[in-house]
C-alpha cells in the first residue's frame, strides 16, 4: 500500500485551501461578533453577554469535523464559535443578545448564549453546568439504536468535569461505545476557581481511561490540531469504536461574563501572556506562511464581516420584542403543534 504524504499540515488532514478560508472566516466572525456584542453590552443595549474570545481556536477547529444536517451539537454557553459553525447566523445571534421574539434559541426567554435550534441540530442548552452531558449520551444511544450515521458533539468547560452528571454521562457512553465526542475547553478557570482547586490532575483527558475510551490533549490555540483530534474522534465514532474525550488547552481572554470582574482572581500579566498565543493570530500566520492570506485580503475579509455584523445588529435591534401575552405558552405542547 502506498502512502501519499501531503505536502502541508492541512493537506495531511485533508483540508483544502477553501476549507481554510472558510475556517478563517468563522474564526474572524466569531471574534468580531464577540467584540461587538460586548460593545452592545457596554452601550447598555444588551444586559448580559458571554465572551468567547480566546476559545475560537478549539471551537472552530473541533466543529469543522462535524457535519451540518447529520451530526448533533450540544454546545455550552461559551460556544459562539460552535454555533456559528453549525449554521447560526450573526443576525440570529443578535436576536438572542437583544432577547427578541424571533431569537431562534428561545424567543428571548433564556439569557443570551443559551443556544438551541432544532433545525440546525443544536440541542437547547440551559444554565446548569454539565446537564447536557447525559443528554449527549442519550442522543447518541438513540442515533445508534435507529441506525443513523450521526455523531454527537458535546462541549463543556473544565469546571463542568466536576459535576456528577459529567461522570454519569461519560460512563454510560463508554459502556455502550456510543458515537459521541466530549470536548473539554479547558481555560483553566471556572469563573474564578483555578484548575488546581477544580481537580488534582494536570489533564482532564486523563479521566477518559477510567471510562474505557481514549483521552486526547490538544493545544486549543492550534486550530488544525483541534481539527485533527476531532476528525480522528469522529472517524472512531462512525466506525462504532465509541467515544473520545478531547481536552483543548485554551484560555478565556475576557471576564467570565459581562457581569464578572476577572481582576479579582487573575493578574493582567497572566492574561497578556495568554493573548500572545491567540488562536486567530496563529491561524492567520499559518495562512500567510502558506500563501493563503495577505494584508489586503485580511483587511477586506475583516471589513466584510464587520459590515455583516453591523447589519445584523441593526436588523436584530429593530426586530420585535416578545409579546408579554406569550409568556404562558409552550409549558406543554400546544394543540396546533401536534404531530
Amino acid at each position: 500500500m502506498s502512502t501519499r504524504v501531503a505536502e502541508t499540515p492541512h493537506g495531511a488532514l485533508g483540508l483544502s485551501a477553501d476549507d481554510l478560508a472558510s475556517m478563517h472566516r468563522l474564526l474572524l466572525t466569531s471574534r468580531l461578533l464577540d467584540e461587538a456584542a460586548l460593545r452592545q453590552n457596554r452601550m447598555g443595549r444588551a444586559p448580559f453577554v458571554v465572551p468567547a474570545a480566546g476559545h475560537e481556536g478549539c471551537q472552530i477547529g473541533t466543529a469543522w469535523a462535524m457535519r451540518r444536517g447529520t451530526d448533533i451539537w450540544l454546545p455550552y454557553y461559551r460556544d459562539l464559535g460552535i454555533v456559528l459553525s453549525a449554521g447560526m447566523t450573526p443576525y440570529e445571534v443578535f436576536l438572542g443578545v437583544f432577547a427578541k421574539a424571533d431569537d431562534p434559541s428561545s424567543g428571548g426567554r433564556q439569557m443570551p448564549a443559551h443556544w438551541g435550534s432544532r433545525r440546525l441540530g443544536i440541542i437547547s442548552g440551559s444554565s446548569p453546568i454539565a446537564t447536557q452531558v447525559p443528554h449527549a449520551a442519550g442522543i447518541a444511544y438513540a442515533a445508534k439504536y435507529r441506525g443513523e450515521d450521526a455523531v454527537v458533539g458535546c462541549w463543556f468547560g473544565d469546571g463542568a468535569t466536576s459535576e456528577g452528571d459529567w461522570h454519569e454521562g461519560l460512563n454510560f457512553s463508554g459502556i455502550h461505545r456510543l458515537p459521541v465526542i466530549f470536548v473539554c475547553e479547558n481555560n483553566q478557570y471556572a469563573i474564578s476557581v483555578p484548575q488546581s482547586k477544580q481537580m488534582a490532575v494536570k489533564d482532564v483527558a486523563s479521566r477518559a481511561e477510567g471510562y474505557g475510551f481514549p483521552g486526547v490533549v490538544v493545544d486549543g490555540n492550534d486550530v488544525l490540531a483541534c481539527y485533527g483530534a476531532m476528525k480522528t474522534a469522529h472517524e472512531r465514532a462512525r466506525a462504532g469504536e465509541g467515544p473520545t474525550l478531547i481536552e483543548c488547552k485554551t484560555y478565556r481572554f475576557m471576564p467570565h461574563t459581562s457581569d464578572d470582574d476577572d481582576k479579582s482572581y487573575r493578574s493582567r500579566d497572566e492574561v497578556e501572556q495568554a493573548r500572545v498565543r491567540d488562536p486567530l493570530v496563529q491561524f492567520a500566520s499559518y495562512l500567510r506562511e502558506h500563501g493563503l492570506l495577505d494584508d489586503a485580503s485580511h483587511d477586506a475579509l475583516r471589513a466584510e464581516i464587520k459590515e455583516e455584523i453591523d447589519e445584523a445588529i441593526r436588523a436584530a435591534w429593530d426586530a420585535p420584542d416578545p409579546d408579554p401575552d406569550t409568556a404562558l405558552r409552550h409549558v406543554f405542547q400546544e394543540r396546533e403543534e401536534e404531530q
Binding site: I72, D103, P104, S105, S106, G107, R109, Q110, H114, G116, S117, R118, I123, S124, S126, S127, P128, T131, V133, P134, H135, A136, A137, G138, I139, A140, Y141, A142, A143, Y145, R146, G164, D165, H167, E168, G169, N171, F172, I175, R329, H330, V331, F332, Q333, E334, E337, E338, Q339
Partner: protein, 329 residues
C-alpha cells in the same frame, strides 16, 4: 374485562405498548436480566432485545438525563427509578431539563418521556423505600404527575403517559401493587391525564384522595354508609398535575364538606393545594372547615412495625373516625 392487580395492569400495558411501538425503550437499574425488582419487565430483555431493555449503571441523574437525550432524538423512553426514594439525585434533570426544555426553546424541542417509579409505604420499606414524592414534582411547571390507584387507571394512564408529548412522572403506589385488584378493560384504551374521577357518589361530604389512601377512604366511606347511613362522595384525583379543579370543586359545592387525605408528609404536601383551591373557589359552599389528613411530618416510615404502623395510622381508625366527625358536623 379481566381482573388484575395493579402491578399486572402496569406490566401488561407497558408490554403491549412496547410491542406496538419500536420507539419505546425501557431503561433503569435491574430492568434487564432481573426483570426489575417488581418483575415488571421479566423476560423482556429476551423478548425485545438488550437495546430496548437497558440495564443502566447505578446513576439516577444519568438515567433521567439519558432518557431526555433519547426523547430528544426520536425515541419514547420509559425510565424506571427502582424506588421513588432514589429519584432525588435526578431532581435537577427533571426540574431544569425535562420540564423546561419545551418552554425554554419556545416550543422548538419536546421531551416525550415517562419516568415510572414505585412509591409509598406500608410495606415494611423503612425510611428509604417508603417515601411519597409527588408534592415535589407536582410543583414543577412542565411535567405531568400521575398517581393511579386502580388497575384500570394504571393501565389507561400509563398508555396516555407514553403517548404524551411531554414528560410524565408516573407514580405507582407499592402497596396497591398486589393488594388492589380490579376489572381492566381489554384493548389499548386511554385514560386521559388531568381528569379526576368520582369513584363513589355521595351527598354528605366529599373525600378527595389518590393512590393507596384512596382505598382507605373508600373503605371508610363504605363503613360509614353501613354504620350511619352517611353518603360520602369519594373523588380520586388520579392526576396531581395538571389538577382537575372542576371535578373537585363541583363535588364540594354539591356536598358542602370536604376532606383531603394523603399519605405523604402533611405539611406543604399535595393536599395543601387541593384544600386551598377549595378554600378559594368554594368557601361559601362549605358547612364545615376543610379537613386535611396527611402523614406525620417525620422523614418517612420507620422500619419497626410499631413505628411504621404509627405513620400509617397514628390514631385508631383515624380516617374513619374523622370522616364520621365531619359527616356529623
Amino acid at each position: 374485562m379481566t381482573e388484575k392487580n395493579v402491578v399486572t395492569a402496569v406490566r401488561d400495558a407497558l408490554h403491549d405498548e412496547m410491542a406496538n411501538d419500536e420507539r419505546i425503550v425501557l431503561l433503569g437499574e435491574d430492568v434487564g436480566a432481573r426483570g426489575g425488582v417488581f418483575r415488571i419487565s421479566d423476560g423482556w430483555m429476551a423478548e425485545f432485545g438488550e437495546e430496548r431493555v437497558i440495564d443502566t449503571p447505578l446513576a439516577e441523574s444519568g438515567i433521567v438525563g439519558i432518557a431526555i437525550g433519547m426523547a430528544l432524538h426520536g425515541l419514547l423512553p420509559v425510565a424506571e427509578i427502582q424506588f421513588a426514594d432514589f429519584i432525588h439525585p435526578a431532581f435537577d434533570q427533571v426540574v431544569s431539563e425535562a420540564a423546561r426544555l419545551r418552554y425554554r426553546s419556545n416550543g422548538d424541542f419536546g421531551v416525550p418521556m415517562v419516568i415510572r417509579t414505585p412509591y409509598g409505604g406500608g410495606i415494611h420499606g423503612a425510611l428509604y423505600h417508603s417515601q411519597s414524592i409527588e408534592a415535589f414534582y407536582a410543583h414543577i411547571p412542565g411535567i405531568k404527575v400521575v398517581v393511579p390507584a386502580t388497575p384500570g387507571d394504571a393501565a389507561g394512564l400509563l398508555r396516555s403517559a407514553i403517548q404524551d408529548p411531554d414528560p410524565v412522572l408516573f407514580l405507582e403506589h407499592k402497596k396497591t401493587y398486589r393488594s388492589i385488584k380490579g376489572e381492566v378493560a381489554d384493548g389499548a384504551y386511554l385514560t386521559p391525564i388531568g381528569v379526576a374521577e368520582v369513584k363513589q357518589e355521595g351527598d354528605d361530604l366529599t373525600c378527595i384522595s389518590y393512590g393507596y389512601s384512596l382505598h382507605l377512604c373508600l373503605d371508610a366511606a363504605h363503613r360509614l354508609a353501613e354504620d350511619e347511613g352517611a353518603s360520602v362522595e369519594v373523588v380520586d384525583v388520579r392526576t396531581l398535575a395538571p389538577l382537575d379543579v372542576d371535578t373537585i370543586v363541583s363535588s364540594v359545592r354539591k356536598t358542602g364538606k370536604a376532606m383531603v387525605v394523603y399519605e405523604d408528609n402533611r405539611t406543604y404536601g399535595a393536599g395543601a393545594e387541593i384544600a386551598s383551591t377549595i378554600a378559594e373557589q368554594a368557601l361559601f359552599d362549605l358547612d364545615a372547615p376543610i379537613l386535611r389528613i396527611g402523614g406525620p411530618d417525620i422523614p418517612a416510615m420507620p422500619f419497626a412495625a410499631p413505628l411504621e404502623h404509627y405513620f400509617m395510622e397514628p390514631e385508631p381508625d383515624h380516617i374513619y373516625a374523622r370522616m364520621r366527625e365531619l359527616a356529623r358536623a
